[in-house]
């Protein structure tokens, strides 16, 4: 079993989607990196942590039925790749909706939720998931 610090040290990015901006080229990355893959060594000392807005659109998605560790409690669940408005893509679950409500391009926003728990007495891991953005509902309400 992984130790608590392994999860704890990533909390700023898992809880608040803190990414990384390279001030050499201006590109945003999530999760944070140590160097910019475009600027290489030139980026050292020119990067800063940046909180992502957490809004974006579904780039691809799937409903996962099998293959996940038991400590992920809900099955099936929706897994998506989301293209954030800053340009970075991230992988995460989409909740509070059914797969049939989603399509490629559906707007989503991030929210802090429970990711998994290590048994009934172990550590609970929290992090970002996504929910359909309100603007989708407004749009469908207009129709």
């Amino acid at each position: 079993m992984a130790t608590a610090p392994r999860f704890w040290r990533e909390n700023p990015s898992r809880y608040n989607m803190v990414g990384f901006k390279c001030n050499s080229c201006g590109k945003f990355y999530f999760p944070p990196r140590i160097i910019c893959p475009l600027c290489h060594r030139k980026s050292v000392g020119k990067t800063e942590p940046v909180k992502m807005k957490g809004t974006g659109a579904i780039f691809s998605f799937t409903e996962v039925h099998e293959g996940m560790d038991e400590h992920y409690v809900q099955k099936p669940y929706i897994l998506a790749m989301v293209e954030l408005d800053e340009g970075a893509k991230v992988t995460g679950q989409v909740i509070d909706c059914d797969a049939c409500d989603l399509s490629i391009g559906t707007r989503v926003r991030s929210t802090l939720r429970k990711l998994s728990e290590e048994g009934s007495a172990g550590v609970i891991h929290y992090g970002y998931k996504f929910v359909p953005a309100r603007e989708n509902r407004e749009r469908s309400g207009d129709e």
Binding site: F61, T62, V64, H65, E66, Y77, L79, T91
Partner: protein, 390 residues
């Protein structure tokens, strides 16, 4: 660059499947013995051993497996160098490349390359979790990604961008089971139809059980030597004429395009350049169909078909035994089985059999040039080799 030409002079492969009575070492030694017998060499002629293995540490709690195989092969008595090679699903192909480089460079003459994995000593969920560790544990798996789920993301997007159909995905599995039925070493030797695939339980939509390669036990091995020595051992040496390796981002979400494996494209280009060949020269190919979508993407990125037309080509039978390029005549990962570290070496064994004209009922007529494509993770590593009858 001055390189020696390298030939395969012996091949060996165990049965693939859920082999309850076979241990990791029994499988590894079994494949190795078949390969050295095929080459007609003896233990004291082997100068180096490379072993492809993804995760013995988690599957059987045994690390240091190259030393283990050298020991139980009896060659550790001669203190030969034994090296384990790991690149997730591409471990076997990468071990082959290390062996190729060792011979091509002149460092060693006779080298054995093996690949082995013993997956069924852990349960299905544990096995899935170990396979998922080829993806980014911190930023994919921990957020809920499974290995099949990540491939499902590729499938969903490929269907969206190119109109690839659910039926075309099924056709990959149907074809590979048809080929596997002709391979006595295959894990699944039964033909299936589209309905079987489309009615199988959902794993990660749109991928179902029959879109996924199984967990398998098995091992494979090849013996390499300089081409100019090969005549001493065999009448039918098969030359490795091209070897390419490439990397890409570990996470799927960092790729330029999730429907294209940049690593496969780069490795392919490098292998063809080394060989001085082109796609139209290839008669038979073993590609990394760990999921049905993977084969569709592979035949596109290998340059056999334009991007987006892999599904259509499969549906039209262009990748069947009698098609333009016979893909996965062994049954592929889907039907032959996918003991992860063994897979890349098993692909080479199949191509050598084909080019020797010894593939029996699944023989591709007049096969002269063959290709293998082995992938690690969702495409972070790719290894492509080209083989030619001498």
């Amino acid at each position: 660059m001055i390189m020696r030409r390298v030939a395969v002079i012996g091949v060996g492969i165990t049965e693939f499947g859920e082999l309850w009575d076979s241990s990791f070492r029994k499988l590894g030694i079994g494949a190795g013995l078949l390969a050295v017998s095929d080459a007609g060499i003896f233990a004291d002629q082997i100068e180096a051993l490379f072993v492809g293995n993804m995760s013995a540490g988690r599957f059987i709690r045994q690390e240091h497996v190259a030393a283990l195989i050298a020991d139980y092969s009896g060659i550790a008595r001669d203190n030969i160098p034994a090296t384990r090679v790991e690149a997730a699903g591409a471990s076997g192909g990468l071990a082959l490349r290390q062996g190729f480089m060792a011979v091509a460079s002149g460092l060693h003459d006779i080298v054995v390359v093996g690949g082995a994995e013993k997956m069924t000593d852990v349960g299905d969920v544990e096995s899935s979790m170990i396979q998922s560790s080829a993806a980014d544990q911190e930023w994919e798996t921990e957020l809920g990604a499974t290995f099949s789920g990540l491939h499902a993301l590729m499938a969903t997007r490929h269907m969206h961008d190119y109109g690839t159909t659910r039926e075309q995905l099924a056709d990959v599995a149907v074809k590979n089971h048809r080929h596997g039925a002709l391979n006595p070493k295959a894990q699944f030797r039964r033909e299936i139809n589209r309905d079987v695939v489309l009615r199988s339980p959902m794993v990660a939509s749109p991928l179902r059980v029959f879109d996924c390669a199984p967990s398998s036990d098995g091992a494979a091995a090849v013996v390499l030597c300089p081409l100019d020595m090969a005549g001493k051992f065999t009448d039918s040496p098969i030359e490795i004429v091209g070897s390419g390796q490439a990397s890409d981002s570990l996470s799927l979400h960092h790729r330029k395009d999730i429907c294209t494996m940049g690593a496969t494209r780069a490795a392919t280009q490098r292998a063809f350049k080394m060989a001085g060949l082109s796609q139209k020269d290839v008669d038979v190919a073993e590609v990394h169909d760990n999921f049905t979508i993977s084969e569709i993407i592979a035949v596109e990125d290998l340059g056999f078909f334009p991007k987006g037309e892999g599904g259509k080509a499969t549906e039209e039978g262009l990748t069947s035994l009698d098609g333009d390029v016979a893909v996965n005549t062994s049954g592929g990962l889907k039907a032959r089985g996918d003991p992860i570290g063994a897979t890349g070496v098993a692909q080479a064994v199949e191509i050598v059999c084909q080019l020797r004209g010894k593939a029996d009922k699944r023989q591709v007529k007049d096969a002269d040039v063959g290709l293998t494509q082995n992938v690690g993770g969702t495409g972070a590593t790719a290894v492509v080799h080209l083989f030619r009858r001498v």
